[in-house]
Each structure stands twice: as structure tokens, then as C-alpha cells.
Symmetry: C2
Subunit: 119 residues, 2 copies
DNA sequence: CTTCTATATTGACGTCTCTCGATCCAAGGC
DNA sequence: GCCTTGGATCGAGAGACGTCAATATAGAAG
């Protein structure tokens, strides 16, 4: 629903120029999705997985929360454009959408830090 | 109040290993502070400023919001450890705390992307 | 000391968010 | 067909959040 892949690239960087309203609104949606410890852990479980895919049945018991709550957080992460999922038989598998996290990281990186790395 | 400088460094990276609860809670506070378009714009105004300092009197009229609301958002950004301020006469000046954004960016950067850059 | 200006704080209101139990849907096995 | 299992959706309640008007505070100027 949120095309961070396109909209984030329009924003040259947090510290390079004052953000316009539209860009800030789009980016805030993604950061808001990251602004919850449960969602951060879910995303980390998914993004750090070797094979790239994690079954819901594996994530739900890792938390002290009800199954609908985990499903709700996964939905928010998906709406933020951070992950996607596919049903395979009885189970549903989630994976991290590539590039989105790196684009966010690039947006946060200050120009000085960039020049230091590339120098 | 939040020592992202210390606590974020304890977290090796979102995509390198599943985040533990404590680390996720600390990081979520910072991302939550970034999860509002007004705060993103405020932080961008501050971080992109050449001299490094921005007066509140310069930020308030840039928004269609009341003065207390802007003050409130600046307070949240400060509590998240992203900015700091100092009173100088009648005016108050804000600046971005260095390194925090870069640490966040490093946390979001996937291991693959890191190896690509350093290769 | 009084007054004015620039910010911060307080209190209140409506809205959004997180969580749960209950229910529904999709797929497999009998 | 029916039943079981894995997930998603619905509806509700408690709490957090964003916003404002009103007030308080700090400093400068008279």
C-alpha cells in the first residue's frame, strides 16, 4: 500500500535538506511501523532468517501475546511495505522486502558520514 | 533519558540476528519519535542546518500548528536522544546530537548491503 | 518593578493504538 | 460431507498520542 521504494528515494536525506510535508508523511508511516518493540522483533526475526522466509507458526509462540495480536502486527509491517507474505498450504510464510531497509538507512545517514565512508 | 548511543550499539543489526526484547524496546522508542511527520520535519530542519543550530522562533512559523504543539514535539525528540537544546537569552536553540542517526542507519543496514559497500 | 516577548508546561478533548476473546476463512484429512 | 488446524478479521476496552487554549516561566527592556 505504501510505496516506500519510490517515495523514500524522492527524499534526498534527512540531514541534507528540510523535508517537505508529503515526503515526511510517507516516511513517518514506515518509522511508525518500526516504533513498536513487537514489530521490531518480528521484522528482525524475518530479516535475519537465513532462508529468507519465516512461518507464522514459528513467530507466534516466540511472544507472550495472543495469535490475533501477532497477526495484527504482521499486517502493519506488510502495509508499511517492509514485508510480504504468501500462503503455502495451511501455513503462511513471511519475508522481508529487499532494499527498503537499506533505503531507510541511506535516508538517515548524514552527509558527513557518507563522505567519511566513501573517502 | 534514552541512551541510544549505548543501547543501540548493543544491537548488532536488525537483519543479523533476532532482536532481544530489551533492545527492541529501546530502539522502538527512537523509531516512535521518528514516526510523526511533524517531528521528522523538525529533525530534518535541525539536522540539515549549516550552522548546526536552529532557533525555535524559526521553526514554529514553518508549521500550521500552535506553539505548544511544536514545543511538545521538540521535547519528544529531545527525550528520544535525537536533539538537545540550550537557552541563549530569550531564545532557545536546538541542534542534532551527532552519531545517533548514523547508529540508527547502521542498525537498519542489512549485512549484505554492508559487504557490498566494503567490498 | 513592571511589562513585553519567547518557550515551556498544564489540562482537556478527540482520535489512534495495542491488546484480547470470539468468530470467520482456507486448506487438509477423515 | 464433517472435523481439525493455522491465520486472519471483527468488536471492544484500556491506554497512549496529537492538538489546542490557558497559564506559567525566563529573560530583556523600559
Amino acid at each position: 500500500m505504501i510505496a516506500i521504494g519510490q517515495d523514500a528515494s524522492c527524499c534526498p536525506g534527512l540531514a541534507s535538506a528540510p523535508l517537505d510535508d508529503e515526503c515526511a508523511t510517507e516516511l513517518a508511516k514506515v518509522f511508525k511501523a518500526l516504533g513498536d518493540p513487537v514489530r521490531l522483533r518480528l521484522l528482525s526475526m524475518i530479516a535475519s532468517r537465513e532462508g529468507g522466509e519465516v512461518c507464522v507458526c514459528e513467530m507466534t509462540p516466540a511472544f507472550d501475546l495472543s495469535q490475533p495480536t501477532i497477526s495484527h502486527h504482521l499486517k502493519l509491517l506488510r502495509q508499511a511495505g517492509l514485508i510480504d507474505c504468501e500462503r503455502r498450504g495451511t501455513w503462511v510464510y513471511y519475508w522481508a522486502l529487499p532494499g527498503v531497509l537499506d533505503k531507510l538507512a541511506a535516508f538517515l545517514t548524514t552527509p558527513q558520514a557518507v563522505t567519511e565512508v566513501t573517502a
